[in-house]
Symmetry: C2
Subunit: 133 residues, 2 copies
C-alpha cells in the first residue's frame, strides 16, 4: 500500500478519494489515457465527472507529480513521474513499456552540435512487441 496521501499533500493537493484512485490507477496501469482512466474511475465513483479527471490531471502535471507522454499516431498517456527513461510503443497492440537507455553521450553530442543547453529528452521508439510478432 503506497502512501499517496502524503505525497499528494507534499504537492499541495488534498488527498481526496478521487485523487487517491487516480494515483492508484496510474500506478497500476503504468501508462494510461484519459479515456481509460475515466473508465476505471467510473467503476469506483459512478458519478465522477470527466471535468474532475481533467482538473486533477492538469494539477498533477503542473505539480510534476505525473507526466504526459506524447505518442506518435495515438493519444497521449500519463504516468507517475519516475527516473528518466524512454518508451517503447507496440504499433500493433498499443502497449507501452518503459526502457532504461543511456542517452547521455547522445545528448552531449546534440548540445555540442546545436549550441543548446538540454534539460529534457523524450524518446519514443515504435515497433512490434514480442506477443504481437
Amino acid at each position: 500500500m503506497n502512501n499517496y496521501t502524503d505525497i499528494l499533500r507534499q504537492h499541495n493537493l488534498k488527498a481526496t478519494p478521487q485523487r487517491l484512485e487516480i494515483t492508484n490507477a496510474l500506478y497500476q496501469a503504468g501508462h494510461i489515457t484519459i479515456e481509460k482512466l475515466y473508465e476505471i474511475m467510473h467503476k469506483k465513483f459512478n458519478s465522477i465527472s470527466l471535468a474532475t479527471i481533467y482538473k486533477n490531471i492538469n494539477l498533477m502535471v503542473e505539480a510534476s507529480f505525473i507526466q504526459e507522454v506524447k505518442v506518435p499516431n495515438a493519444k497521449s498517456v500519463y504516468e507517475l513521474t519516475k527516473d528518466k527513461h524512454s518508451h517503447i510503443v507496440c504499433s500493433s497492440c498499443g502497449d507501452i513499456t518503459d526502457v532504461d537507455l543511456d542517452l547521455d553521450s547522445i545528448i552531449k553530442d546534440a548540445a555540442t552540435i546545436s549550441s543548446h543547453t538540454i534539460d529534457r529528452s523524450d524518446l519514443v521508439l515504435s515497433g512490434t512487441c514480442k506477443n504481437c510478432q
Copy 2:
C-alpha cells in the same frame, strides 16, 4: 525552385495552387504549426479555408510526404519528410531545429532489452537555444 508539382503527383495528389503553397511554406519554415500555416496561406489565398489545410495536411501525412512532430508542452508541427533526424526545441522561443544523431546502438539496445522490433524512433530534446541563453 523545387518541382513539387511532380512530387505531389507521384503521391497521387493533384498539384493545386493551395498544395504547392503548403509545400512551399513547409519548405521555407522547416517546421510549422497548423495555425501558422493557415496564417501564411491566408496571405496568398484570402478565402482559403482551414478545412482545406486540414484535408491536405492529412492526405500528405498519409502519403508520407510530410510528417507530424509531437512536441512536449506545445502544439504539433509538420515538416517535409526527409532523412531520419532528431529535434531540439527551445523552451524559451519555441524554435525547433533538426539534429543528426546516431541512435543506432541505442535502438539496438532497446530492441534487445525489450524483445521488440523497432521501426521508428522519435527523439525530441528540449532546452534553451544559443540566442535565448
